[in-house]
Amino acid sequence: MQHSVSIEYARCRGCTTCMKNCPTQAIRVRRGKATILTERCVDCGECIRCCPHKAIKARSDPFSCLEEFQYTVALPDPALYGQFQHLDEVGRVLDGLLELGFHAVYETAKGAELLSDYARKHPGDAAEKKLPVISSACPAALRLIRIRFPQLLEHITSTITPMELAAILARKKAVEETGLLPEQIGVFAIVPCSAQVTAAHSPDDLQQPVLDGAFSIRDLYLRLLSPMQKLDAPHTPSSAGKAGVRWAFCGGEASARGSSERFLAVDGMDSVIRILAAIEDDRVPDVDFVELCACTQGCVGGCLTVEDPFVATMRLRHLIRSLPDVACSYDDQVGDPAIVQADKELEFAPVYLLDPDRTVAMEKMSAIHDLERQLPGLLCGSCGAPSCHAFAEDVVMGRAQREDCIFQVRARMRAMTGPEDSDEYLPAPFRSKLGKVVPSDR
């Protein structure tokens, strides 16, 4: 799988900030540069946010991709609408996208609204799942569950994401309108985060990707500004109501779904991990539905957005006042219930497993504990691992060498040179031998 999150080595100083902040312990520093253990990365973007050298980027597709297609459709995420000051109509953003050269637009918010409508009208789908039902909408959260909370896979809704539904419907519509072949049509999402870029290319829930690529809100933002300002009254009507646009911020999906008040809307990776651990142990009773957003405030907090997530949320609240509560109905506009169903089973990816053979795994665990006891527990990061435990595990798993710990090296040097020599390296006040202390009155 090709991850969106990637490191620009020329800028990376190996400072260990990303390594220490990674929620899945997916980063190590090797040869002075951060490297990603790809099977552990969930593309949440935490490292992108915290890197002090701006060395971690989320790769999205270049605009030149558009040239490969005869007809192109843009799928703007509703988070895009929250990026602009003084925006009073969604149509203005849609016009701007057409002005940039896309042949058509299809709102991801419409896909979201159709999914919400489907969930409301087919409560039986959710009834087959274990309670609480967990949303599949955030690809970073989904991937986190796949690597760390396998027991919760049975809780996840089996419907595809708003972006995927919008892509399927947009392509269908374009084929009908143009008479072109499906592969002559390029369907591109405009996404708020790295996880959506990865999901556009390698979906967890579909056998084949339904998108041709993904552009970041950040890349598109400046290009959109000037055409949007030049336009007079917007021509393109918006097709989604409040219910769909609200998916851009945390809590929107749950409210659009028409869930009872018994739902959790959780944002931020740390909170998501904490709540998943609690659900796994039955410590969250009386909850029917759980909405998970890896980013603060939801998709508006994505690492590829421009505006502050709190400001964007406020703007969206203002923008949706003029929209109808619900603008589209699943039965009228889609009908076939098979379209929203995921066609790939979510599989557990045991990336933290020490060994498939439990005897071997236990031997390795004992070796890890033995080594960890000899380590200083400082979490200094000098070895290139986020903690002494992670380092011990890396050594036992063959991903690091004992000598990568500077304390291990120092201990060995001391043992080789004899105990008294350590005084040589210390300033006078800290020397242990009287003879070597420099009198202070001289």
Binding site: E280, D281, L353, T359, M362, E393
Partner: protein, 139 residues
């Protein structure tokens, strides 16, 4: 094959941090590839035990032995001890204080839950000295 030994100190008086030992243990058990149901049961028992130690005994220590056939969890504290084990085992019976109850604990389900999710449970307790709850979960 020797059991993997895990030791977790449990800080007293800190209900917010309670659950740390059980979540750490859970990660370790996942790395060993134990069946999910076993991990879940061990984690629930450990969590309840942790809460008990924090509320009643000002903390203690959790020792876990992971063997090939079973997990043994010992929750050891030097707290006030349990004067009447039969009553303590009753669902809904609790001697937790107001602070714990305000936080949603003290529902009197701690020991009963540990009993329900474990295969064997044994309580050694002496009033004024402390309590050791030993739990076994078959793999």
């Amino acid at each position: 094959m020797e059991a993997v030994k895990l030791v977790y100190p449990v800080e007293g008086g800190d209900l917010i941090e309670a659950g740390e030992a059980s979540s750490k243990m859970k990660l370790t058990l996942k790395k060993l590839g134990l069946p999910p149901d076993v991990i879940r049961r061990a984690s629930i028992c450990m969590y309840e035990g942790e809460i008990n130690m924090v509320i009643h005994a000002d903390g203690g220590q959790a020792e876990v032995d992971v063997g090939m056939d079973e997990i043994v969890i010992r929750m050891i504290d030097q707290g006030p001890g349990i004067p009447d084990i039969d009553r303590a085992m009753q669902e809904g019976y609790s001697t937790a204080g107001d602070m714990a109850r305000d936080l949603g604990f003290g529902a009197g389900m701690g020991l009963p839950n540990m009993k329900r999710y474990s295969d064997e449970m044994d309580i050694e307790t002496e009033v004024g000295k402390g309590t050791t709850v030993t739990i076994k979960i078959k793999i």
